[in-house]
Symmetry: C2
Amino acid sequence: MKCNLEVCFSPALYDLYHHPRSIVVVIDVLRATSAICTAFMNGAQHVIPVGDLEEAKEWKAKGHLVAAERDGLVLDFADFGNSPFNFTPERVQHHDIVYSTTNGTRAIHKAAGADAVAIGSYLNLSALSYWLQKQNKDVVLLCAAWKNKFSLEDALFAGALSKKLLDSGLFTTICDSVHAALDLWSSAQPDIYKYIMKAAQKQRLAKNGLDDVIEFCHTPDQTTIVPVLKGDRLIGETVGKICYL
Amino acid sequence: MKCNLEVCFSPALYDLYHHPRSIVVVIDVLRATSAICTAFMNGAQHVIPVGDLEEAKEWKAKGHLVAAERDGLVLDFADFGNSPFNFTPERVQHHDIVYSTTNGTRAIHKAAGADAVAIGSYLNLSALSYWLQKQNKDVVLLCAAWKNKFSLEDALFAGALSKKLLDSGLFTTICDSVHAALDLWSSAQPDIYKYIMKAAQKQRLAKNGLDDVIEFCHTPDQTTIVPVLKGDRLIGETVGKICYL
């Protein structure tokens, strides 16, 4: 029997999609889930998602590396912010990174009651698709959105991943959000980078001079690591032999 | 200065879009807002949206005509259900219709704190667009959705109306949901009827043999009446001389 695929466009709607036996993929392309994938790609040991800033400060006081931002800006007590470019091998290798962002880490906590929570971005798109196909479970793609409002870049990625999953023949859907995400993904061809220029998040990042990451965050298949939530932290599961066709 | 346009994909997200000076257009293409437009087109005096079934029963006991459904099926105490085909001139002319549905009437109540609440469907698409252009107010297009989950047919209509409003030059947007709705509308060309076949609501209606209304509900410009909420009831505002170009 095929597994069921759904897309949830906002964490505020997640309760409607929650099922304890489903796997949730958290998507925050600009920039949290791209940054998390980059951290693992560059050798981080764990990423500890923290919603609350007080908790992030406590981790910092205990000597941990802390990445924390609100509305795109680095918080003063943090070691660095939310740009994937901050998560360099020199900084993150063999380290645990405590990480708090406006939308991404909150979405991860929202999904914590699911069977499993994985982190999705273009950087691990094919690896994630492969990993999901091996699980034999229903899947919900949870867009982190912007303060619970629908965001185009997350919906677009949900479309990219939905296409791979449905094309595998292992998944089926009766979810209108999946159809919408697929059609947006189709509309964005052949140039997703150009397409995403109209996203509100592109404007927000540009306002603070932070839009240099957009092209990188839309580059597929830079890593074979799928970050997965285990207890209070994300670990990196490396997907074995995969073939990007 | 141009007015701001936003689309809200679910009543559960409406608080994020609410502004007391904005006009809200409630959209429930299959079938509540199409049925309401049909009622006015066929001579109804008022439509009284009622969320609660007990309240609908009280109106019925007082001798009013009551249209009420849940999950697409007519409730036993009601005079008729949610199909626009029920709202015939013989039944509705000069009458007040009390109306309760799964999603549509709830969305109307959700929006009641806005500057004005109007009812949108393909049946009054051009008239509604014209009416909104005359108001000089920000506009939120509120999709009634399905039990708060994103619904394709409502998003598609939001795209159709957004296109008209933005093309008028009187509106602007920085809302990702508007861009998504516009792209879905574009994807659905040239055959929106064919496109909508994949919507979950089409399957739900077909299951109960109620999908005969889909083509009618996607037929533009059958009426020049814009239903608008005044107190506890909708009245029909007839838009004057309009030219469908």
